[in-house]
């Protein structure tokens, strides 16, 4: 493979893979996308991510980069002269961005996925509450990070925009399945506006699955893998 060829091993519904695709789009980088079947992992995936055996994996020439947030930072540093920076320049702002990205992945995502996996009404209610709490904290984070501008990254999208943006389809899916409003303009108005703006961007349109696709997939997972009895 040529030294500078880019390949991405991903999965259409994975927010972790989606965020990398969003950033590659933003940077205008060409790459070969290779869809992975996570229930039947390919030799390619096992070869390029032997430790975790997960997507996404960015293959750059003969180098493998794993873990979505590590990949985003790699793209930022490798193509620092192409387009605006992904992470802020100031060390404190970078620390804040890294903190909230961790929070999004460690607290927000497990909450709404946890809701879809929950089998009791009590557990469902708890996960919905956790999701709402997480979004309210992120509303505050958005206010600080955006400093009045359109995105977490300011005038252009950055690390936090793609980290959270890659999950928007899933959040809406959780809303449909639960019947509960999560991105509620009464509670998190700034995030609701940000989400609307984000979804109009090319990088979002090109990489996010539709909510219909995700809902179908989520309901399938509920039955087959998560063993959740569903009403509809």
């Amino acid at each position: 493979m040529a030294e500078d060829e880019l390949k991405l091993l991903g999965m259409w519904a994975s927010p972790f893979a989606i965020r990398v695709r969003m950033m590659l789009e933003e940077k205008g980088l060409s790459y070969e996308y290779i869809e992975q079947d996570l229930l039947n992992k390919s030799e390619l995936l096992l070869k390029h991510n032997p430790i975790h055996k997960k997507v996404p994996v960015l293959i750059h020439g003969n180098r493998d980069i794993c873990e979505s947030l590590v990949i985003l930072q790699y793209i930022d540093e490798k193509w620092s002269k192409t387009g605006p920076p992904i992470l802020p320049i100031d060390p404190y702002d970078r620390a804040i961005a890294r903190f909230w990205a961790m929070y999004i992945d460690d607290k927000l995502l497990p909450s709404f996925i946890g809701f879809m996996k929950a089998t009791t009404e009590e557990a469902k209610a708890e996960k919905i509450a956790d999701t709402r709490t997480a979004l309210e904290l992120l509303e505050g984070a958005f206010k600080k990070c955006s400093a009045g501008k359109d995105f977490f990254g300011g005038d252009s999208i950055g690390y936090l925009d793609v980290t959270l943006g890659s999950q928007l389809g899933w959040i809406e899916t959780a809303e449909r399945i639960s019947g509960a409003k999560l991105l509620d303009e009464a509670k998190v108005p700034l995030l609701v506006d940000w989400a609307k703006r984000f979804l109009t961007l090319n990088c979002a349109k090109k990489t996010l699955p539709t909510v219909e696709q995700l809902e179908k997939y989520a309901r399938e997972l509920q039955v087959t893998r998560w063993k959740v009895a569903t009403a509809n």
């Binding site: 980069i65 490798k78 060390p91």
Partner: protein
């Protein structure tokens, strides 16, 4: 927590996460105020500095808090960039360093806790996993002086605090780190030759005393 100039670290003496920050600060020669937190009675300052997680360590630099140990270490490295670089300059080498530090984060503490919390079959499973983890790390270290190569780096800082827990893991689960991962054992000794590490890590027997205290507290026989 006004815009007071200076560096403060909110921490807990035996926390390997806090020790990462202490080691990084020492490597960089940064003067700071250390504040020991009582984790059963968290201070106003800690709750204000880390309202989201209410955890240590928190680095407060000129009144501004930074939370999460690996984020703190990267921050320290970026701010005090004139001395002892903890990250390589090449983006791919950096990605490798971040990947392995994340690996240590995801695996070592959790598995280690299961070694002293669990018994019987569950403990055996945790032991098998810990041996795998140590061997993967050993393969990554190879014959290098440090994970960072010739220089002490990000992965070294991330992992070295756990070396003072090896004795506890070995005693609770009946195995030897030197036996399963000799290069890691040697690397741990090399790191202890560094002042930043020697002055930060507690004697493994003292850490074991703390583990015994935790076992009693959690009702583990």
């Amino acid at each position: 927590m006004a815009s007071e100039k200076g560096v403060m670290l909110l921490d807990f003496w035996v926390s390997p996460f806090g020790q990462r920050a202490r080691i990084a600060l020492a490597e960089k020669g940064v003067q700071y105020e250390y504040k020991e937190e009582n984790l059963t009675e968290k201070s106003e300052l800690l709750l204000k500095a880390n309202p989201v997680h209410k955890k240590i360590p928190v680095l407060i630099h000129d009144g501004k808090p930074v939370c999460e140990s690996l984020i703190i270490v990267e921050y320290i490295n970026e701010v005090w960039s004139d001395k002892a670089p903890l990250m390589p300059s090449d983006p791919y080498q950096k990605a490798q360093a971040r990947f392995w530090a994340d690996f240590v984060d995801k695996k070592v503490y959790d598995c280690g806790s299961r070694l002293w919390k669990l018994k019987g079959e569950e403990q055996q499973a945790a032991k098998k996993e810990m041996i795998e983890i140590l061997q993967l790390l050993e393969a990554q270290l190879g014959d290098k002086k440090y994970f960072g190569g010739d220089s002490f780096g990000f992965v070294d800082v991330a992992f070295v605090p756990f070396t003072s827990w090896f004795y506890s893991y070995e005693t609770c689960a009946n195995f030897s780190v030197e036996g399963v991962a000799p290069k890691i054992a040697q690397w741990a000794k090399r790191c202890m030759e560094r002042e930043s590490v020697a002055k930060t890590l507690y004697d493994p027997k003292k850490v074991y005393e703390f583990v015994c205290f935790l076992k009693k507290k959690f009702g583990v026989e």
